[in-house]
Assembly symmetry: C2
Homo-oligomer: 358 residues x 2
């Protein structure tokens, strides 16, 4: 029954594929009608539409994306700009995004741009022109210039982890997250509380978490000591080094707030290496909700990461469909999850066991 018009050889670029012409001919209509019918546009006789669909299915026709894109000016694809793809936070966000994009049949293009410091191949901005209809930017720390370039593309954009005036964004309340984690340590009875933060020139999100820490401290009448703050660069190793530094202080903290789970993991390793028991000797609380935080028994303020990806993607699609849609700044809730890494102080407060290796 199927009248195969074009030959389909197995390999090579010269494989002739079925075009809208073939479908039009086989269905006895014009290509315009096929186009309308298949895309579900109005003003098509239901019968005609059905017939076209049948024929298209029989011929196993698939629209040529390049042709469709060229003619329509739409690409049906969204780019995600992310510093990393192989770290928990980012891969989780990506997964959430991928989820909703795939549901809606939108292509997902990934651009991994590395740490804000690093300079990757081309600035993505030139690589994006004409390729995508929308952008999702994942926590590009205060690299304002580059962000401005991206926005100059004039595409609908969603931010994750940062807010941006006039664009969609999905964030957690970082101030609150920092405050909650710190307050939890305070409530446990700790008064000598250190902090492992990210990097010197911080992102807004990092600054907010620090602010939350200070607010909680101030609220308890405590003064954060600069000597009890260290940078962990959001990595396990960085966290370990930061904790090691804190332990070498004359008067080490009895508790530490780490801005990310990875850094908390590193901190815990440092403790173990010093023969200090996490929790009972020195308490740790962090932010993230990393899958392995449960395993490592780390108290953390969980952020719904996959969900954040989903939400950002949905908001973006809404904006892409309807240019008039107002950009939203969405703040999603976090949850404190208390585990074994945070318990009341045991020792005679301040001076924990020091340098007792293994």
């Amino acid at each position: 029954m199927a009248l195969q018009h074009a030959a389909r050889t197995a390999y090579g670029k010269d494989r002739m594929s079925i075009t809208i012409r073939d479908v039009a001919d086989a269905a006895g209509v014009s290509t315009a009608t096929v186009s309308r019918a298949l895309r579900g546009l109005p003003h098509v006789d239901p019968e005609t539409r059905e017939r076209v669909r049948q024929v298209a299915a029989e011929l196993d026709y698939v629209v040529s994306p390049s042709a469709s894109r060229l003619a329509s000016g739409r690409t049906g694809t969204v780019a995600v700009i992310t510093p990393f793809i192989d770290r928990w936070f980012f891969s989780s966000v990506l997964s959430g995004i991928s989820d909703v994009l795939q549901e809606r049949d939108v292509d997902l293009l990934v651009f991994e741009v590395g740490d804000p410091g690093t300079n990757p191949g081309l600035p993505p901005e030139r690589r994006l022109r004409g390729r995508v209809d929308g952008l999702i930017v994942v926590t590009l720390p205060t690299d304002a210039m580059r962000v401005a370039d991206l926005l100059a593309l004039g595409l609908p954009t969603s931010f994750i982890g940062t807010t941006w005036e006039g664009s969609n964004s999905v964030t957690i309340d970082d101030v609150s997250a920092g405050r909650v984690a710190t307050q939890h340590l305070i409530n446990l009875g700790h008064r000598h509380i250190g902090m492992i933060s990210g990097r010197p020139r911080a992102s807004a999100s990092q600054a907010h978490r620090a602010q939350g820490y200070r607010e909680a401290m101030a609220g308890a009448g405590l003064t954060p000591e600069p000597s009890l703050e260290a940078y962990g660069y959001f990595t396990v190793q960085g966290g370990e080094e930061a904790m090691t530094a804190l332990l070498s202080q004359p008067n080490p903290p009895t508790a530490v707030f780490a801005m990310s789970d990875d850094m908390a993991f590193g901190a815990i390793r440092a403790l173990q290496r010093h023969g200090i028991r996490p929790g009972s000797d020195i308490a740790i609380a962090s932010i993230d909700g990393h899958e392995l935080a449960e395993l490592l028994d780390v108290t953390t303020v969980r952020q719904p990461v996959v969900e954040m990806g989903r939400t950002a993607a949905e908001a973006l699609l809404a904006r892409m469909m309807d240019e008039a849609a107002k950009p939203e700044e969405m703040m999603v809730p976090t949850t404190l999850i208390v585990r074994g890494s945070s318990v009341p102080p045991e020792r005679t407060s301040t001076a924990g066991p020091q340098g007792r290796p293994t």
Copy 2:
């Protein structure tokens, strides 16, 4: 100096962008010459080429991908088909792939297809036609049918984690990995060794790891006991449940080979919950080289995952450039990394401490 031909308004689809025509006019040549010059094709006067380049740069011209694709039939993009994005192995592989693709200015399209069991939206095969010039398939466990569909697209393809006759592939020697991990436990003096494998209907890779386990056992004159094998589904939780099951055996193992680090992590948690010390009470060795394996002190056979992604991408690109390039089956080396989770048996062998919670 720059003679801006087309207006560039900030937003909207009606933004007129600079086309090859503009560049041609400004440079006083034909569009064909511009095309050749910019793409580095031969038969262009060096002077002309330089002038065209200048003009293009001044005008900030960027080729329209859709137009170029339609005219040339090439898309300059590669799709990665992966069951997951947000798990260590997969996100690491993706990162490696992204790396080399970005270097070569090739777009990366990601398709997350979920567990082999699950059925995602559209079969990717129809969604891929005309969109990409090459495919990277990441460990799609024996879902042979679907793979056949993909290959029917007639595109150069690289496999990661699986071999496929006639295609590029990057794998580790799974038999060897399983054997090495098991042999290590044997060398430690263990004789009662269990195994946590993936799932019932296994992938080739899983089968090979199991084979390695059996080979090592046989080589030591040991008989693998079916009651000491459990499925962990490659997840932390699955690993925990599997270990729990093993512990409830009348005669639990003194050592366990887990096919993935995640499952080993779960197994360790199970041990902890039972008040059993990993390493000294029951030894664990696994395969992967997960970043956190160091933290958790897990002995593992490391596979160079990011590198595997890079290699697969490079092989694919080579094949895309030169159709004649022979498909290669690349096997990359693994490394046993011994850590605290595997030490010689302590107790009077077989019966470890049981059910002593916390």
